[in-house]
Amino acid sequence: MAWSRYILLILLACVDKTDFDSGGTAFPLIIDGLFSTKAAEVRLSRGYRVNGGLNYTRIPGAIVWIADTDDPSWKLILKEQKLSFYEYQAFNGTIYSYSGAVTPKAGHHYVLHVIVDSNEFVSLPQEVREPGSIDNIYFTYTSGFNRDKGVEEDGLNILFDATVPSGEDRHFQWRMFGTFSVLADPAAGPERCWVTEREDAPLLSSSAFATRYAGLTARYVPITFDRFNDRYRVEIRQYEISREVWEFTEALRFQLKNGSSLFQPPFFVRKGNVISLNGQANVIGIFTASIDVSRAIYIKRSDLPRELYGQPLPANCLRVYPGSVAYPPPFWM
């Protein structure tokens, strides 16, 4: 009945943004490090105020290196590469190393060292082992009404199969990198940009699975002109991570999935596997050392089950897609 529908329309639960401010919290140093076959990078930052604006604090003058506890002569020093991101990385840049070895070796243990404001932080030793393999990457087409956006939408579910070594207390993480190139109006900026997008939430191994992981969903990729006008590259990387990092990342994943839980958001209080040597400085950090294996596929426009309809070119692709670059990544073919 019409009258009842009218009454019912106002029966709504409400979600309101709050101006909640915990106030007075000393923000810790955040250390996010990875030493893998493809990268040696450490990002330093600080915690920031809830309900505040974008607020990255630069960590100047940090000293960062990775040591091999099984080979005291080996030391990989990382230099600050990007000013605005406070990123110390060797990926796609100069590698500073006393020994010259830049990839982790199976059977070795690596420790991250960071010195900031005379406080030294170290990670727990991370053992490197063979991480298994990515066996297959594929996709399925799906379409329907997206209730979040209120529109009809179609896209691809990116799936993959993987094999991990057996053994107790072994943990793995996968990362998905979806890369596409976007044509733009050359009058307003670069003619082409390359955009890389990640999985929505960390992909982690689970005790519910055996050594064979089949049909893991990496990401749902909406079909848009920009993404598939040229081609869409999917790369899956597989890492072995320590239990501390797995627990930290699992808590992060759990929070991303349940942050808006009706019952109660899960508490995130994990500190990771990096500690302050003098015990005084506040730090949250994770460091992973792993041989990574990867696999990639290209999804071409012709692979899609429907035609793509052209759209106006973005004026400046670097602005429309924050984080994009105007040069092709080395893997782009």
Partner: protein, 899 residues
Amino acid sequence: MRFLIPTAILALLFFGGVANGQSLLELPLDGSEQDKKLAQFLEEFERKHEVKFYFLDEWIAPFTIDDSYAGQTLGDLLENVLRESDLSFVVVHDRALAFVKDPTVEITRREAIVAAGRRQQSIETATVGNPDLFRPGRLVTLRGRIIHEEDRTPITGATVVPNGVRGTTTDREGRYELRLPSGRHVLSINFIGFKERTIDLTLYEGGDLNLSLQESPVLLEEIVISSQPINELTVSRPGQLQLSVGAMKKQPSLLGEADLVRQLQSLPGVNTVGEAAAGFNVRGGSVDQNLVLYDGLPLFNTSHALGFFSAFYSEAIQEMSFYRGGIPAEFGGRVSSVLDIRSKAGDPERWRVNGGIGLISANLMARGPLVKNRTTLAASVRGTYANWYLDLLKNTYKDLTNSQVGFYDGDLRLEHALSNKSKLSFSYYRSFDRLRVRGDTTFQWVNQLISVRLDQMFSPRFTGSFLLGVGDYNYTVSNVQPAQGFDLDYQVTYPTLKMDFLLTAGAHRLSFGIQSTYYAFNPGRLRPTTAQSSIRSVTMESQQSLESGIYLADSYNLTDRLVLDAGVRLSSFVQFGPATVNVYSPPSPIEEDNLTDSIKYASGETVTSFMGVEPRAAIRFSLDNQSSLKLSYHRIYQYLHLVSNTAAVTPIDIWQPSNTFFKPQVSDQISVGYFRDFKQKMYEAYAEVFYKEMDNVLDFKDGAELILNKTLEADLLQGKGLAYGIEAFLSKSQGRLTWTMSYTYSRSLRKFDPGTETINNGETFPSSYDQPHMLNLSWNYRLSRRWSFTGNFAYRTGRPVTVPVFGFTVDGYGVAYFSGRNQYRIPDYHRLDLALVIEGSHKLKKPWSGSWTISFLNVYARRNAYSYFFASDTPGKIDTYQLSILGTIVPSVTYNFKF
């Protein structure tokens, strides 16, 4: 009339001389007095001896001398004959004896009649016993049953009060028993939601007086809030309340659903973490610390639809008793409260149907005789069509996208009178919930109870009940994604045997019994459900336990003013194999890293056992006819724990029996209360102070995941709980406007000893339901005989929450980092609800009657925070949000009918 006392006094003055009563009373008797009326004997005695007796004929007319007093004295005779009567005597100058009558009983009786008259109650007369056997003042036993006028079902908890002073309450079968001096009394029979009856009783000798109460059709006479303690002054044990379904239906309700649990939450000392929270918290206890019994068997889940609605169809409920302090020895196994629900039986004389249609659910109930006055059946069902409501919610709350909700509950009760002294009952209850979240995950949970009960009256003073039943609670979580399809099952089955007895002996009411429950837990089984599923099967080891209890209690009237309820319960809990017990290297803390070995136990082998002695005591001291003081203490052991890592209980939480690692919870509670009424019970008030300590309460470590966890002990902590507070209640129960007001100040705290992993560094912190200030107001204003206006207002301090205190970015993801446990509070909660109740004609014999309830919840549309959550749409930025379950005014219309 022969002589009067004043005459005796004049005679005393006239005769003069020295009084020496000893010799008059020592005059010997020869046995000829046997079988004579006392008056006749006294006349003959006067003639034989030079003495005078002064009395009113009507006083001593009923007395007969049954025995021979040959060789004994006049004093012996009079003492024996007048013993326990309201007559005594004085000896005057050794030559005269005057009989004196205690006027207290008569004065009290007259006052009670006058008070009833003031309340505009008609006064009925009744006679019990044979006048020829009347022995004035002799203590005799009055028994009877109080039943529902229409339903013919017994009323439990009705009060039967003689002469406005100490009375009793009816038991489960509606029975009551009073020891009264034979003579004239005024009995008041009362129960919330029913018209009070006042009986001018002439009690010649012990006997039966059965009465029925008529459900009050006029709101004027109805108690506004269902939770009002009935005659707290005279009969209730501290902390015990009777709840009325009739009154509950007239209160504002969420979408028209009369809700028992929500009514409980308006009581002093009872609260909840929010509007969508299942269960209730009592005096600082967690939800699992409440024993909810349905026809004698415990229920593990009391909610539908994640706590929006309780799992009880109000029409199917006969009565509810709620204990939050001074819990009787009959009950055990939960440390905070007992909610004892009894389903409605069939009408023994004719079939009746009633039902209701609301915005989200409909219900129907039929009750009647299969064999008239011998075998009855009652059946009810309630179901929902709430998905349209969810469709609206999910536009705002994306977790509900592509979600569905459905539930139903049903109740069946068959009763058969084997004789006028025994009754056999069969009861079945089932509730079902199905909730689909985000299209691919479905939660489904089921409660089932089935029982057979025999009530037997061995003698008028000795009754017993025997119950054999089985309960089952299970849930299933299903995922239908082809690549990751799975079913996760959980189940607990618990066959139960109970025997309870009640023996009345003089001023003692002895209750005793034994009960035993076997728990079979299936703590979790995960299995793939599709051919492509990559889920690995996981089966948690089953757990078997036996919980038993034996109890003995006595309710003893020490004096007219002092009543003692005391008892003891001996409880035990045994865990049996097959079982595997993890071994951690001592003295290291129980953490997964320190797991070194495991011990296997064979089937039937005892793994671990516990035993607890649970003293219970309650004392009521009547200061006068208007006020009383009460004191209670209880110790209770709880052997089952609800394991949860959220503030609000969810349907997929785990019940964990005590074992090697999880010791039983133990609670000690003491409470003191002062109760008083004013103006012939128009106003009633009480204040109660309580202090409660709890040991071995469970809480989760930060970041704990509890499902399918084979080292659950490594993710949980056991600590101490403390709760204390004061509860105040005031009500007005007569007149056009009736109301209740309650206020509670209480604290609920937790402390976990410092260790490698603890909570808040081992410091004391508030529990999730620590709400120091709670205020509830309810009222019912009678606009006319059929129209009434009701309302509720609730205020409580915002509950403690754990909130994100800063954000950080790692691996490209925004992360919120949380404060110490429960270190912040959401804003204070307050809400106003109003309802208009329109009843049909109050004619008793009409074939169909209906009533409309138009409710408006959250009238001023306050957005009370239920929880804080956060979102990080952009790396480097975290925003917090508050969720309000009722974000606006919620109207509803319900039509209830019966025929």
